[in-house]
């Protein structure tokens, strides 16, 4: 029996709660331009799901399941998407970080009073998703690395 793991009750509850917390995190990120919240907040919620897994199953097990390199790559992809969308504003429109999708039929419909369609906001949903990827990957990898390092320090 692995010493790092908690009891079966905690493991079961954690494995039930993990997808629910992740779905809530994705909901906050996706609706960042409609409801309170956004990329940072949803990313912090998603990282807390990974922290819950680490508490329940131990850092070694989680590290074997989701490699730390993958989380770092996820984070870097989020940062790249943010910068690329920002720089596209120079070429498509006028300046850095221009909201060049507003008014387009695909993403940028301007909502009428009282309705909140998901495909509004121009580049804001894309930037929200990018920042959410960045925060989920970054905070989760930091929590994972700190947990592993503290386990190794005890030996």
């Amino acid at each position: 029996m692995n010493e790092e793991r908690m009891s079966v009750i905690v493991q079961t509850i954690a494995s039930i709660l993990f997808p629910i917390i992740l779905i809530f995190s994705f909901y906050i990120i996706m609706h960042g331009h409609l409801t309170p919240g956004g990329g940072f907040q949803g990313g912090a919620v998603g990282a807390s799901a990974v922290a819950l897994l680490i508490v329940a199953f131990g850092a070694r097990y989680v590290e074997n399941k989701m490699r730390e390199e993958n989380l770092s790559a996820f984070e870097s992809v989020g940062g790249l998407v943010f910068v690329i969308v920002s720089i596209l504003g120079i070429f498509v429109a006028t300046t850095f970080l221009t909201n060049f999708l507003v008014g387009e039929p695909l993403f940028g419909i301007i909502p009428k009073w009282g309705v909140s369609p998901l495909n509004s906001g121009g580049v804001l949903p894309i930037l929200n998703i990018a920042v959410g990827m960045k925060v989920i990957g970054g905070l989760a990898s930091v929590v994972l690395m700190l947990a592993i390092a503290s386990k190794e320090g005890e030996k």
């Binding site: 940062g79 507003v102 008014g103 909502p111 009073w113 009282g114 509004s120 906001g121 920042v131 960045k134």
Partner: protein
């Protein structure tokens, strides 16, 4: 001293509850301050005349400030996060002995 803290706590509590009751309902017609920030909605034509919703297309004015009007700030914040994570990764990297 404890009494003063207790009285202050109770007054603050009552104030917060009172303001929660007095706040307008979610989605009610905006006040004048909202008119300046979020924009003015023309109900006859069904379009926004000016303001944040007209310029960014996002219902959430806070997001339109954070990601559009002050997008540089968010980029800097993301860079701070990236730097902090890079520092942690450098500090706790696995060292191979063989």
């Amino acid at each position: 001293m404890k009494k003063i803290f207790f009285i202050a706590f109770v007054v603050f509590f009552i104030f917060m509850f009172y303001s929660a009751y007095e706040i307008r309902d979610f989605g009610n017609p905006p006040s004048q301050m909202d008119d300046r920030i979020i924009g003015k909605y023309n109900s006859t034509t069904g379009e926004w005349e000016y303001g944040a919703v007209n310029e960014t297309g996002a219902n959430n004015a806070v997001t339109s400030v954070v990601f559009d009007y002050r997008g540089y700030d968010t980029l800097g914040e993301a860079t701070v996060l990236f730097t902090a994570i890079a520092g942690v990764m450098m500090l706790f990297r696995r060292v191979k002995n063989e």
